[in-house]
Symmetry: C2
Subunit: 336 residues, 2 copies
């Protein structure tokens, strides 16, 4: 096997530097992917900085990969050498547990994550189990599609599993890498879309993406006026919000769904759930089957991430850009 | 109109005493009910003691009524004088708001509660809007059926609206007035039923009611061994539990549903929801249509509350019995 060149942090928070490593023999159910592009997600920062206590160094992050299949394990017959695929947060699942056999590979009892105890996509090659190498339709642009495989599916999955209806009034909280895709999905889903942002200067762009109204997340009066408004609220940020007030903005039978992993426990008044028959849910990414449905949906409706592109060798500058909070809306690395 | 004789608290926590009052002219859409029996619910205690800050005195509690229709408003044509009906927590809804026209009268924007700013069922007569006077099938025993109209529908509704499946593994936390009905419902629903109780001396009785296993709520090791076990967990108690640990006992896609209105906010770790695609929900009672379905279900499966009966004039002794925590499982007053 050829040497792999990746960009690794040698310790928490350190600048990335080029490193060489090898993956060893290709497993029977594995796929070896030559990386073309790799988006940068906030979870990459959390892992590089060891915010979740899961990190092992040297750490090669990157889990929004688009690339072409370079080699296939002996048991993989449904993919072809040279085929373009995407790879997200999950790189492996057992295929035999109750969740896997039901199609919920993302809830596998023993799932493997692309950048946890594995080398990720800030590299020229990356590996995964074949079920997680999701074919990218040829009409989708490889330069921009990487973020669909983490940010995109993370916000598409809640709409799909929760049965969000075209008649629903939906709010999206946080219009960044995830939220700007959620707004696009929901507009084409047929919903009335309200975007909550702390950056009012994004307003015109967010309207252009498909929101019907834009509200400042800090505007307490505006939020109060939205009491009993929403059938579904999608929280993409990972900070503590006024959960009781947000639950008040839900209509009866309304649902609050979080995909941003805020570390502090959420303070949820039972009365806020009981009175209006409301719920609070969370979810991680989505299954391979749902990811494929999302790609179909993107094709049909011309949905794509808005990105800022950096060469892979400029990964440190790209990370700084993401940390600045100014990226619109996703930073993507391109193989040099 | 005849004088009504009810049992009222003159101030928070006071012993009840007989009082006379009149309801005035019967509204066009109202029903005047002669009370035969009335169950006592923990919400009656909360209202008598003004724990929710909603109480106005003199206060006549009682919202698990079975009785016969004594008089009908001029517009009520679907009920008959002498017909036996039940009345629960809700006594009125507008019939015109979005929820009402969709059949969710229990989520009405301007619902009226039987014992909030109204005189309830600890009396010889009670009143409600006709939609909330739910016909009691003649085969159900009026002596025991009162608790179905609050305790019963409160635990039946979550199973119905959440689409609990016969193949689900379900836990019920708290086997009192509500929980002992939930266990009966779930057994006939086809589920595997685990009962959590703080009273292990109830074990044989709970098994007889339909539980497949009984776990002590305080047995931390037993609860740990149930990690990833449940598809649905129904919390009927109104005390703070170890919510993070309970969420851990849910299988992927599992749902925690609370109907006990614990006053302290619930501390919910976002990670506990996100990782396994879990949810937390609440609900208040159920709609008139769902209540009718519950009564059908009770008929078909011989489900009835287990009660301790007291004459209405002994209401203070009956309240003490409920407060003692020893009642098995519901206290019901019978008209003298």
């Amino acid at each position: 096997m050829t040497d792999v060149i990746g960009y690794a942090a040698m310790e928490a928070g350190a600048e990335l530097q080029p490193v060489n490593y090898q993956f060893g023999a290709l497993g029977a159910d594995e796929v070896h992917i030559r990386v073309e592009t790799c988006g940068i997600c906030h979870s990459d920062l959390s892992m590089l900085d060891n915010q979740w206590g899961l990190s092992q160094y040297p750490l090669v992050a990157g889990h929004e990969v688009v690339g072409r299949i370079d080699a296939l394990g002996s048991q993989v017959s449904h993919l072809k050498i040279g085929q373009r695929v995407g790879l997200g947060w999950y790189a492996g699942s057992c295929s035999t547990c109750r969740q896997c056999v039901a199609g919920d590979h993302h809830l596998c009892d023993s799932s493997e994550q692309t950048i946890v105890k594995r080398a990720g996509g800030f590299a020229n090659y990356v590996r995964c189990k074949s079920v997680w190498a999701i074919p990218l339709p040829e009409s989708l642009d490889p330069a921009t599609s990487g973020p669909l495989f983490c940010g995109g599916i993370t916000v598409f999955n809640p709409l799909y599993i929760s049965g969000v209806k075209a008649t629903d009034r939906v709010g999206v909280i946080g219009i960044g890498g995830l939220g700007h895709l959620a707004v696009q999905f929901l507009n084409k889903w047929g919903c009335h879309v309200t975007a909550f942002t702390t950056s009012p200067d994004k307003k015109n762009e967010i309207i252009h993406l498909g929101a019907h109204q834009v509200v400042e997340t800090t505007d307490v009066d505006a939020i109060k006026s939205l009491t009993r408004s929403f059938d579904f609220l999608l929280v993409t940020v990972n900070v503590t919000l006024n959960w009781a007030q947000l639950l008040d903005t839900l209509a009866p039978n309304g649902r609050l769904h979080v995909v941003g992993a805020v570390l502090e426990p959420m303070a949820i008044p039972a009365f806020s759930l009981i009175g209006g028959q409301k719920s609070l849910a969370g979810s991680p990414l989505g299954s391979p089957a749902t990811t494929a449905l999302m790609l179909d949906f993107c094709q049909r409706h011309d949905i794509a991430p808005l990105i800022e592109s950096y060469p892979m060798s400029d990964v440190n500058r790209a990370l700084d850009r993401l940390r600045s909070g100014k990226a619109r809306y996703r930073v993507v690395l391109t193989a040099d």
